[in-house]
């Protein structure tokens, strides 16, 4: 099957620091895959390899193969800009553009991609904001600064910004780590809604969250993928001792 995300023999470095070792994984299309693991094990690095954001860091290097929805991400001649349009990303910390209004934040990807027609931009903004469950809260304040929103609203604004360019895949790096339970619940609801149209990969430290939103879960440890499988099975009946130690909290 060509769809979904297929990773083979992925290795990644920051300078001489070898952070990812021979990662192989096949994530299903139009489904939610959760990635868990202790801090520093390489989860962020891994998802940044999927949309070619890893190479943005000076000195960073990748080898191996990644296919996303049938396209070879690291084939020679492939434009990383085009890959990143197809694969949206939401970061751990909300990062709306401080010089832009709520509206401009949402449509910035389209606008800088060349779209000028106001009607199209408005339609896209409303659709993305509705998808991100933010429309009702900001529809009367589209001209306000993006950073004047609350943290949870800012994160949903960032999700709307990513959705506005209609990506096929959405990568979320601990999207709820700065949010309260209510905002977190909103974003989880959103993930469940989006999965019918998108392939989603979410990094999380919250195992209940992984259990609630994902079909499959991968456990990373020290730059290796220790275990990958159906979420319920991984949490109730892990194959690897290290996974069991981690999810039961017996980990040093």
């Amino acid at each position: 099957m060509a769809d979904g995300i297929l990773v083979k023999d992925l290795n990644a470095w920051f300078g001489d620091h070898h952070v990812l070792h021979d990662i192989g994984i096949a994530m299903a299309p139009k489904a939610v895959t959760a990635l868990i693991g202790p801090s520093g094990c390489g989860k962020s690095t891994f998802i940044r390899c999927l949309n070619r954001m890893h190479e943005v860091v000076p000195g960073a290097r990748v080898t191996g193969g990644v296919r996303v929805e049938g396209q070879d991400v690291y084939a020679p001649g492939v434009d990383p800009v085009q890959i990143r349009r197809k694969i949206g990303m939401v970061f751990q910390k909300p990062n709306p553009f401080p010089t832009m209004s709520v509206f401009d934040n949402v449509v910035v990807g389209l606008r800088l991609g060349g779209m000028r027609e106001r009607a199209v931009l408005h339609e896209a903004a409303e659709r993305a904001l509705r998808q991100a469950a933010l429309w009702d809260e900001v529809k009367d304040a589209l001209g306000k600064s993006g950073v004047s929103l609350s943290g949870g609203q800012q994160q949903r604004l960032c999700i709307a910004r990513a959705l506005a360019v209609e990506p096929e895949v959405l990568l979320m790096d601990e999207p709820c780590s700065a949010l309260d339970p209510i905002a977190t619940a909103k974003i989880e609801e959103l993930i469940l809604e989006l999965r019918s149209t998108l392939t989603i990969v979410i990094v999380t430290h919250n195992m209940q969250q992984a259990a609630r939103v994902s079909e499959a879960t991968g456990f990373f440890l020290l730059g290796e993928l220790v275990e990958f499988g159906v979420t319920r099975q991984l949490f109730t009946n892990p194959r690897d001792k290290r996974t069991e130690d981690y999810i039961t909290g017996r980990f040093g």
């Binding site: 943005v56 000076p58 553009f97 401080p98 990807g109 360019v165």
Partner: protein, 280 residues
């Protein structure tokens, strides 16, 4: 330490800090007050609207010098700002090591070069080949003085833009050059404008580099390839002349110069505080 002692120290230190602040502001106030006292009597409508009168006749103004200074500053800005801002952007963003290091070093050295040396430089590369003093040569000299200030502040301000902004934009599939021009630069805008204002204020009052470039002129602006009047030059000429009336006009000119810088800075503040601003 007892709470009473802590409060005592607190009061003393606050007093010291307030005194230091007052001492910093004092020279500025004294200069301004002195200028007002000496120059206010010569400031009138004629001063702003008329050409200088021939030697011996009372009255007249410095209108040509005010216009000349504005033209010189605009010329300098037109030459120096794009180069300086994009140069700063390059220094902040380049992954290369050697060339930025060299450029930074050159900018810092240039910043320390006495302005009269830059005047001689402009004289050599523009006045001599053109065989005459000109507004262009004066604008060029001022642009060279602006350049290192603008380059270095732009670089610092662009560096202050968090990398999360860049990454957010790149992850949306925006090409890198657009990320720089449409996201990074606007985020650094307020800080860059402050740097630009400092540079403009600095060159507006420069005298030495204009002596043998813009040269001065007792008439209205006659084209960019002709000598042009400038407030600092006129102030200098009037201040060393033996006429009381000219002395008063020199004071008034100085007052006008400070007023110009003040208005420009204020305008920039107002402009930048309007929309949402990024790094300050």
């Amino acid at each position: 330490m007892t709470p009473a002692a802590r409060r005592g120290i607190n009061i003393v230190m606050s007093g010291v800090a307030a005194l230091a602040a007052a001492l910093v502001v004092l020279p500025l106030l004294v200069i301004f007050g002195f200028l007002l006292w000496q120059g206010a009597s010569a400031v009138n409508v004629d001063f702003f609207l008329h050409l200088p009168k021939p030697v011996g006749e009372a009255g007249g103004g410095m209108a040509n010098a005010i216009v000349g200074t504005l033209i010189l500053v605009v010329l300098a800005a037109a030459l120096g700002l794009p180069l300086g801002i994009f140069g700063g952007l390059y220094l902040a963003e380049s992954r290369d090591r050697r060339l930025p290091w060299l450029a930074r070093f050159v900018a810092d050295v240039l910043n320390g070069v006495p302005s009269i040396v830059i005047g001689i430089f402009a004289y050599t590369v523009i006045v001599l080949p053109m065989k005459r003093f000109s507004a262009l040569a004066g604008g060029f000299a001022l642009a060279v003085i602006m350049l290192p200030i603008v380059v270095r502040t732009s670089e610092e301000m662009v560096r202050l833009v968090p990398s999360s902004m860049r990454e957010a934009a790149l992850a949306l599939g925006i090409p890198e050059w657009k990320v720089l021009l449409r996201v990074v630069l606007p985020t650094a805008r307020a800080g860059i404008i402050t740097g630009v204002m400092v540079a403009i204020a600095r060159v507006a009052g420069e005298t030495a580099p204009l002596l043998f470039t813009a040269f001065g002129n007792r008439f209205w602006h006659q084209g960019l390839d002709q000598p042009i009047a400038a407030l600092p030059l006129q102030i200098f000429a009037y201040a060393i002349a033996p006429y009381d009336d000219w002395h008063r006009q020199a004071w008034a000119g100085a007052l006008t110069l400070i007023g110009l810088v003040f208005v420009v800075s204020l305008a920039a503040r107002v402009v930048t505080s309007g929309r949402f601003t990024g790094v300050r």
